[in-house]
Amino acid sequence: MAFLIRRGSKKYPYITARVRAMKSKLLPREVYPKLMNMDIPEITRFIGESEYKQDVDELAQKYSGLDLLEHALNQNLARTYRKLLRVSQDEPNFLITEYLRHWDIWNIKTILRGKYYGAQAQEILDAVVAAGQLGYRELTSIANMESIDDIKAALANSPYYAAIADYDGGELSAIENELDKIYYSRLLASIGKSKGEKLSLKFIKTEIDLKNLKILFRTKKAGLVKDDIFELLIPGGMEFKSGDLKRMSSLPWSDFLKGLEDYSYWSEISEVVSEDMTSLMDVEALLDKYAMGYASRISHYYPLSILPIYDYMLRKNNEINNIRTIVRGKKVKLPDEIIRKHLVM
């Protein structure tokens, strides 16, 4: 396969130093409580004076209030990720490209979901983040297509075609799953055998584990049957091998929680997990927190590798999610306590 061909030299010092400098510009932890005490216009102004200035200024003519913030955040995320692609070369560029395919998957899912529910092209485009290989122009043309066949034809040359080839406009869950699986199998295949890359493999596998854990929690809580759950899980994790996934998906809720005690992630979530828990919010926030802590830790093990860049991408995404959580929480007048629980810091 073409994407498996390794590229020339490894140019990490430049990009890792640059990414570390970019990381130092992210909002510090102390800012979030401050944001919690502001109203939406104040938050918009605060954000407009920070790294998001360019995006807020650009979009201020078109949108206002909450819409402005939402769009500015999305655009900034896409711009930041595109910048990483622009300033990297060779191997880091290749690995970043593969990692950012996540957003292609996200966008394809968004478009298909939008079409499924009969949303307008503009509504769909409001939710896309053009950070992957599919640019905003391509996404616009795809979102404007009326029939599923046209969309399929537009994506015929992309690696995602295999997942959507048989889609006929019906239920989406199977397609979404297939897309996730394609993404992770490509990502795992893209990583080579050098020391830094072995560590990145560990990181990706842990990410798959955490994703599987979330899926397991959600599906168990929703009471899905064994085979349906197993279909949803992504193979290739670190601790949850195929056998573990099969076993975990077949266990009833209480045994499932007990079974989790055998894995290292248990110590992270044991505080909030109980048999009669009603909300999965706490568990998911803790898992996200663990992912961030892990990325940050592992990025120091081998600094001249893709790991600091993964760490940055995760943090940037998290910052944007946090701001969005605060703003949306404020909008619907959620108590501060609940908003704080949703924040990953």
Partner: protein
């Protein structure tokens, strides 16, 4: 081909030969240490430029860190001077 053997060489020839070897040694000391510091500076320079591109105020620090491996070539130069003049 001219056959030169040490036994036939005059004292002046031998001294000239030794001077030549000293000059080669001095050249190697500077040349190799120059290459070595180049290799060492390559990554530091790239990293410094990367950091500077995001934060201009890092220029001073970046510059200083980049030229630290210059010491290697200075050692080479000192050795070369010692060889040639002592």
């Amino acid at each position: 081909m001219v056959d030169i053997s040490i036994a036939d060489a005059t004292v002046e020839q031998i001294l000239a030969n030794q001077k030549g070897l000293i000059a080669i040694g001095a050249g190697l000391a500077v040349g190799l240490s120059g290459i070595a510091s180049g290799i060492a500076e390559k990554d530091i320079g790239a990293a410094a430029v990367g950091a500077m591109a995001e934060r201009e105020e890092l220029f001073g620090k970046g510059l200083i860190l980049t030229v630290i491996p210059e010491t290697i070539v200075i050692f080479g130069l000192v050795v070369a001077i010692l060889l040639l003049f002592l």
